[in-house]
């Protein structure tokens, strides 16, 4: 059976989606002339500010375009469904947001994104734009802790992007210098841990076929946001047991001390409703209370989705004074606001 979708011609889906986004959020967003897949914040890029370009494949809405705006990303380069954008629209983003203070590229650590963004960075260098790259690698399920030389190099970036981009966007908006922005971006990534669970697949608009198979009573822990297989498959469990499984692994890596403070994101992969997310969050809070870890802020909803995939992820952002300052710094994006 093919997945039902409200779409037109799949070949036009990304451009039509962007039309709909621009129609909905004209105060926040604009397209680079002649480069429609390069989405720029109307209010954000400015002289002397480090520019922040994020991006990646489509299908994760509101990631990435929803996080473009004053105080967060200056631009997003948009790819096809689950496919990195090519270098050209990335380069156009870099050009559009360059304020002479350097441009940060931030995106999830996927081979395709790395190749395309690196090509764009080389092209930007030829235009005298200095680009540095900070990858997000928050998915603790995507490589075991013992398999990293450079601590987390093998890992994917998933919903924790939310915190990582937020910190970097704040640093840029505060007009910190390039070194400081890069340092804070890396620190935010080092301090962010995500783990997810999937209950049912999504499907590409072009095929409308489930992109993986899962038995009628099965769930998969650690599955990627594009349906990449995870670390463990088993019978579906209660919300509390699932939250515990995710929290156990996150906490064992994060190693928080009593009295530490975190921010939490309980994220829907798509069709898992808020009711279930709040059940998970209830258990997250219990677990944090148990170990006397304080809660600075919590977000619950669909922030980094995989179209209609069922499942959820939990992200913990391990805060210090600086990261709290970045998290609380105001931002005003089409689908996300703080302050």
């Amino acid at each position: 059976m093919k997945t039902k979708k409200l779409i037109n011609d799949p070949a036009a889906i990304i451009d039509e989606m962007l039309d709909g986004m621009l129609a909905a959020h004209p105060q926040h967003l604009m397209q680079v002339p002649d480069s429609p897949r390069s989405i720029i914040a109307r209010d954000g890029p400015r002289d002397g500010k480090v520019g922040l370009v994020i991006g990646g494949g489509s299908g994760h809405e509101p990631t990435f375009v929803g996080f473009v705006g004053r105080g967060l990303a200056d631009a997003a380069a948009i790819g096809n469904v689950f496919a990195s954008p090519p270098p050209d629209p990335i380069l156009e983003c870099a050009k559009a947001v360059d304020g002479g203070a350097g441009v940060l590229f931030m995106y999830g650590n996927y081979a395709g994104d790395v190749m395309n963004f690196d090509m764009a960075a080389e092209m930007a260098a030829m235009d005298d734009i200095e680009v540095r790259t900070v990858l997000s690698t928050d998915d603790v399920a995507s490589a075991p802790p013992d398999r990293r030389v450079d601590r987390r190099v093998d890992r994917r970036g998933v919903a924790g992007n939310f915190f990582i981009f937020k910190a970097a966007g704040a640093a840029c908006d505060k007009m910190l210098d390039f070194d400081a922005c890069e340092r804070i971006a890396r620190k935010a990534n080092d301090h962010t841990y995500t783990m997810g669970v999937a209950l049912s697949p999504c499907s590409l608009p072009h095929t409308r076929k489930p992109n993986f198979d899962l038995g009628p009573d099965e769930m998969e822990i650690g599955l990627g946001i594009h349906g990449e297989p995870g670390v463990e498959r088993g019978p579906i469990q209660s919300a509390d047991a699932v939250a515990d499984a995710l929290m156990d692994r996150i906490l064992s890596e994060m190693q928080p001390s009593k009295g530490d403070t975190v921010a939490v994101l309980v994220n829907s992969l798509g069709s898992t409703p808020m009711m279930e997310l709040y059940l998970l969050n209830r258990r997250v809070k219990q677990r944090l209370d148990d170990i006397r870890v304080g809660l600075h802020a919590t977000w619950v909803g669909g922030y980094c989705t995989s179209m209609e995939m069922a499942g959820a992820s939990i992200s913990l952002h391990h805060l210090d004074g600086e990261l709290i300052e970045m998290l609380d710094h105001p931002c005003d994006c089409a689908q996300f606001r703080v302050g």
């Binding site: 070949a11 496919a83 081979a111 095929t207």
Partner: protein, 212 residues
């Protein structure tokens, strides 16, 4: 015909596009097992763009065809396949620059240049379970066939044979590059989709060349 001019090369690209269209679902399935299930869609989008661009271009040399194809493919798809195949096409174009027809030496050069492109763009090692595990044996087979004085058609068909074998060897490999690298041991037992598309493309070229 034993050489390839720019018109012939466009025909070959169109045959590759046809083959991708036929194998699209299969490539998605392969990618579904260890990746994100889109490789067939990506290749199809890319080759549709290539077909369109080549129908509009005014190419004087094979190099123009390669460059047009590279640019169209890259801009239409991004993804992993985009930079890898685009770099492969670009390198082939650079390698045969100035030649108006590709003779057997140029055909072998073309295959090795493509393999080099994939290697330098992806920085994978042999055995990492990527398309390089199809490209590398293809390039070696092409060189061997050239040294053994084979025809251009034979060079291509032996490259395709080697790519197919190479793709099959990825089944037993554990992925170390690309999306499937995160699966560790669970990536074993599946063919790498990029290696599979590489074999499809080389086979389409070889068959197309022989058929005419």
């Amino acid at each position: 015909m034993s050489t390839i001019d720019q018109a012939r090369l466009i025909d070959l690209f169109n045959l590759m596009a046809d083959a991708i269209e036929r194998e699209k679902d299969h490539l998605c399935e392969l990618d579904g097992a260890i990746g994100d299930a889109d490789h067939g869609v990506t290749m199809s989008i890319g080759f549709s763009a290539v077909r369109k661009a080549l129908s509009e271009v005014n190419a004087a040399h094979p190099t123009d065809v390669f460059n047009t194809a590279a640019k169209a493919f890259l801009n239409a798809v991004g993804a992993s396949a985009g930079p890898l195949y685009a770099t492969a096409f670009m390198r082939a174009g650079a390698k045969v620059k100035g030649q108006t027809v590709l003779d057997r030496t140029a055909v072998a050069d073309m295959v090795t240049a493509m393999a080099d492109g994939v290697r330098s763009r992806g920085k994978a090692d042999l055995g990492d379970k990527t398309m390089l595990d199809a490209w590398d044996p293809a390039a070696k087979a092409a060189l061997q066939a050239l040294e053994a004085d084979r025809s251009a058609a034979e060079i291509l068909s032996q490259a395709a044979d080697a790519a197919e074998k190479g793709a099959t060897t990825t089944i037993d490999m554990m992925a170390k590059k690309g999306r499937s690298a995160r699966l560790g041991p669970r990536s074993v037992g599946h063919i790498d989709p990029g290696a599979a598309s590489t074999a499809i493309l080389l086979r389409a070229m070889a068959d197309g060349f022989t058929a005419e």
